[in-house]
């Protein structure tokens, strides 16, 4: 093994051009794989590639070291073409220990590159991962993929041993060796990473130096040793001009809610209780208290939504966020917002269920809960962003609808959107639409359930307004006076009005848009985070000669039923791929009387494009 040079030397190796690369970093949950993956993603974005990421980490913060349960992974797909998904199978797999190897090796594509920290492949670690001999030496492996066993731990500590740091601290830097090596391998720009290390560890100059040295050591190792013969280059993608930043779904949601509240001229009140994978929305909002945002970490999920409702009653934009289990707890209070016709935005960052389920994994199984998970006829508007950056736009729309129609709106995100990152073309705040709400200005014959003729919204007259003192509540109200009413006919009338308000939201929505073939053999209908997989599959199926359309619904309630009927009629086969046991498909079958066919996957993971294509093709074949 060559000596590790102390600083970057310039020794060119041949560069191989590739269109796209999928790389997965995997290690113990304490190995810093999320950090490594995120930073590699930033480098790739700055290099001008289109990107999609998939963080995959265990629910346990620190499972026992070296065990299969503790393996944490981060996958990024970077390309010179448009990227829809994080990729089915990695081209490059970096594993920091045998457990990470064991969990991930089957996914590595044939002919792919495996980089392994050979120092971590001790007999005891190998046994902990449930294997017998050294898997890196296994002939069946070396025949299938290119194995680079790199003494990563030792080279990490060697490069900083003169600093006098404790051994444990030195070893913890090894993810920067991996990052440095991969940055070299794929010709990533490294200046930003060096700046970032300086900022990230600003409190400890020793750590800045250690991580910088280890990062450079990793880079130099690739450049100077004979282990790697060439590097790879992925040219910049053809991306719409503009200024970009990397954006996760949770952050985009937070920013979208803030921008919308501001454009509506409202204070924002965010009531929340910590829950995976929604907590980052709370963290993000709590950091921007100068934007007229109040965050309230409540004692429980119920208090979180109730406080938001109280704030809405007072004239603020009330927002709450959670994941499925928390939404279940909020159900009764959401019904109160339906009944009192107050604006409220509820974010559900879905995860695998039922019960505690798979807290860190993604799933789309809360659509029925969103539609029907309350007592009584309790309709609310539902919107589902399709990509991480779309979380910004959909949050903005959700706020607009909630305020204009005086209804609760639920945003269905999920773990994949929440933590997945994507380049976001930064909008100009000044060009975002004004969505301010007009208070009721009349003064004769007021009652709290008078209705706007167009939207059916009731007047939002808030405490502090003299002369309009009134009481609202969860009991049924009389249509004509707003007083409590138990009249049977009135109850049906009010029930229908509450439903009609949601239907009228259709007036404000963009018509559904088909991508791919406008007519033909197959229409794939999806919602939420499956967008990327469906878009990729659609492109490939059309290229293979199967005329395929892709309709991705953003608003799930209301549905533009007549338009959907017209679109559906143009295709022979309708399939509805979802990360659940078939929820949207049931709605479509019921509302449109169409023989739509479900394609279900409930494994806590997004669709793989290859698998999805195979399944829809089989359905098309069967129909022929």
């Amino acid at each position: 093994m060559a000596e590790v040079p102390s600083e970057t030397t310039v020794r060119e190796k041949p560069v191989e051009q590739v269109d796209a690369v999928v790389i997965r970093f995997a290690g113990d949950s304490g190995d810093g794989m999320q950090l490594t993956g995120t930073q590699f993603t930033n480098e790739s974005a700055i290099a001008g590639n289109d990107i999609a990421t998939l963080p995959d980490y265990p629910a346990e913060i620190r499972a026992p070291a070296g065990t299969l349960a503790g393996v944490s992974g981060f996958q990024v797909n970077f390309s010179q073409a448009r990227v829809f998904t994080p990729g089915d199978r990695p081209d490059v797999l970096v594993v920091m220990n045998p457990a990470a190897f064991s969990v991930n090796i089957a996914d590595l594509r044939d002919g792919g590159i495996l980089v392994a920290d050979s120092d971590a492949f001790t007999l005891s670690n190998i046994r902990k991962a449930g294997m017998d001999g050294d898997p890196l030496a296994d002939a069946s492996l070396t025949k299938r993929v290119r194995v680079f066993a790199v003494p990563l731990t030792r080279m990490t500590t060697d490069s900083i041993k003169d600093m006098g740091l404790p051994n444990k601290t030195m070893v913890r830097c090894k993810n920067f060796f991996a990052l440095g090596l991969c940055s070299w391998m794929f010709n990533r720009p490294i200046e930003q990473t060096l700046t970032w290390i300086g900022a990230k560890f600003a409190k400890s100059p020793a750590l800045v130096e250690a991580n910088t040295r280890v990062f450079k050591a990793g880079w130099n190792f690739g450049e100077t040793t004979e282990v790697f013969v060439h590097t790879y280059e992925v040219k910049p993608a053809d991306i719409e001009p503009g200024t970009y930043t990397n954006m996760t779904g949770n952050r985009a949601l937070a920013l979208g809610l803030m921008a919308a509240a501001s454009k509506a001229g409202k204070s924002m009140f965010f009531g929340s209780y910590p829950i995976t994978p929604a907590s980052d929305i709370l963290h993000e909002l709590a950091a921007h208290k100068n934007f007229d945002v109040t965050t309230f970490q409540a004692e429980d999920e119920i208090a979180a939504v109730c406080a938001a409702i109280g704030a809405s009653f007072g004239g603020a934009l009330g927002v709450t966020a959670s994941s499925g289990p928390g939404i279940a707890l909020k159900g009764e209070a959401i019904g109160l917002a339906v009944m009192t016709e107050l604006p409220l935005v509820i974010v559900n960052v879905q995860r695998g269920g039922p019960s505690t389920g798979l807290p860190t994994k993604t799933e789309q199984a809360d659509l029925m809960q969103a539609l029907y998970g309350r007592n009584g006829e309790s309709p609310l508007a539902i919107v589902a962003p399709a990509t991480p950056v779309e979380c910004f736009d959909m949050a903005f729309e959700a706020v607009h609808v909630a305020l204009k129609y005086m209804v609760p709106v639920m945003i269905l995100s999920d773990g994949y959107l929440a933590n997945g990152a994507q380049p976001w073309k930064i909008p100009d705040y000044d060009e975002l639409p004004d969505i301010s709400v007009r208070y009721w200005k009349g003064d004769l014959g007021f009652h709290p359930y008078l209705r706007n003729e167009d939207t059916l919204a009731r007047p939002w007259v808030i405490p502090g307004t003299p002369g309009f003192e009134h009481r609202i509540g969860g009991l049924e109200k009389d249509y004509d006076s707003g007083d409590i009413s138990y009249d049977p006919v009135n109850h049906e009338r009010m029930t229908r009005v509450r439903a009609e308000k949601i239907e009228r939201v259709n007036e404000d929505l963009d018509p559904p848009r088909v991508e791919g073939s406008e007519l033909g053999e197959l229409l794939m209908v999806g919602w939420g985070s499956t967008y990327g997989a469906l878009a990729q599959a659609t492109e490939e199926l059309n290229a293979e000669g199967l005329a395929t359309g892709h309709l991705h619904l953003r608003w799930l309630n209301p549905l533009p039923v007549e338009e959907l009927k017209r679109i559906f009629a143009r295709y022979k086969t309708i399939v509805v791929p979802e990360l659940n046991m078939g929820q949207l498909v049931r709605i479509l079958r019921e509302r449109l009387l169409v023989d739509a066919i479900p394609v279900s996957r409930v494994q806590g993971q997004p669709f793989k494009v290859g698998e999805l294509k195979a399944r829809v093709k089989a359905i098309v074949e069967e129909g022929r």
């Binding site: 930033n42 974005a45 700055i46 001008g48 930003q192 970032w196 991306i239 719409e240 001009p241 503009g242 200024t243 970009y244 930043t245 990397n246 920013l255 501001s262 204070s267 009140f269 921007h288 208290k289 100068n290 934007f291 007229d292 109040t294 309230f296 409540a298 004692e299 429980d300 119920i302 208090a303 109730c306 406080a307 938001a308 409702i309 109280g310 704030a311 009653f313 007072g314 004239g315 009764e332 209070a333 109160l336 930064i426 909008p427 100009d428 705040y429 000044d430 808030i462 405490p463 502090g464 003299p466 002369g467 309009f468 003192e469 009134h470 009481r471 509540g473 969860g474 007083d483 409590i484």
Partner: protein, 337 residues
């Protein structure tokens, strides 16, 4: 709608809704006292909000000609918290009961008390579920026969005042529905207190738990069973000819002493700011001891909504006026030509 505030009267706080509590219900008296005290407070009517949950007491907002929110079971405290946080200038009142506030809403109640928002809580304690027609509540006494406890209540009840003190409430008082003047005085004190004010009102349910507080409110018994607290005054009770006091025994336990044979210095003095004394008073159990009425604790602690507002102010001075374009471009950015 003019800016000028005409002097309001009790009638201004009476809504146009028919009051629908059972005849003889203690709630009538409480409503009347609240409507009587309101005009004295000089708070514009439109700035007053009554928030309630579910139960007989929670009908209260409909009868007040102010803003009001009749919400869901147990959650009035949470809704009021959101309202007060976003509109600190409003006078926010929570009306709740022993079931609504201590059972289904117990969690929100204790957290409101610890946070110390400037909200006034009136908890009507009748030791029974009335609206659902007569099941035992978390304050029902052991052995009480109800529809859901035909063999007598087996669960140990909460003492409402002990619970509030344990949750670090900054103002805790107790009064009785029939003691109209005392009730009014407690309302005034609650409004004057900065921070969460918690008043337990012992309230008779004539239908399902009639006479639960007969000892404290009955004509013949009230004098010897009411320990009326006054800050700085000795803990004395009973009639003029049989004056009694509460003293601290050598073993730190409470003792009832006869004033005929005890010098007044040996009787404890009430101190609303003494936390230990508050607990001591809240643990006095009938029938051995009288029921303390009045302000048990009143102390200052930072008010939550003010702290939150101060943080927002600090954020504004540290981070500047909101600038979305700066926020959007705050991380790593790159430009595609």
């Amino acid at each position: 709608m003019s800016g000028e505030q005409a002097k309001l009267s009790r009638k201004d706080f009476v809504s146009d809704q028919d009051v629908r509590w059972c005849p003889g219900c203690g709630d009538y008296a409480i409503l009347a006292q609240v409507q009587r005290v309101m005009p004295e407070l000089n708070i514009p009517r439109e700035n007053i909000v009554f928030v309630s949950g579910i139960g007989c007491s929670s009908r209260f907002p409909y009868y007040m000609n102010t803003y009001g929110f009749h919400s869901i079971h147990g959650r009035a405290t949470a809704i009021a918290s959101g309202l007060k946080l976003s509109r600190p200038e409003l006078s926010v009142w929570v009306v709740t009961g022993d079931g609504d506030g201590l059972s289904i809403g117990g969690n929100h109640l204790i957290h409101l008390l610890r946070r110390n928002l400037d909200i006034n809580i009136l908890l009507f304690n009748n030791e029974i579920y009335g609206l659902t027609k007569g099941q035992y509540s978390p304050t029902s006494r052991i052995g009480l026969i109800t529809k859901s406890s035909p063999l007598g209540v087996a669960d140990h009840p909460f003492d409402t005042v002990s619970l509030a003190l344990g949750a670090d409430a900054t103002f805790v008082a107790r009064t009785v529905d029939t003691e109209t003047r005392h009730l009014q005085e407690m309302l005034r004190r609650a409004v004057a207190h900065k921070g969460t004010s918690f008043i337990e009102i012992l309230q008779n349910c004539p239908i399902f738990n009639d006479g639960a507080f007969e000892d404290v409110s009955g004509k013949g018994s009230r004098i010897q069973n009411q320990l009326v607290l006054e800050h700085g005054q000795p803990l004395l009770f009973g009639s003029e000819d049989a004056r009694m006091g509460v003293a601290l025994g050598k073993d730190m336990s409470p003792q009832v002493v006869s004033m005929d044979s005890t010098p007044e210095e040996e009787v404890l003095l009430h101190d609303e700011t003494n936390e230990a004394l508050g607990f001591f008073l809240s643990r006095l159990e009938r029938p051995e001891f009288p029921v303390p009425l009045g302000v048990i604790r009143a102390m200052d602690r930072p008010i939550y909504e003010k702290e939150v507002a101060a943080q927002a102010e600090r954020a504004l001075s540290d981070m500047g006026q909101p600038d979305f374009n700066k926020l959007f471009t705050g991380g790593d950015t790159w430009t595609v030509e």
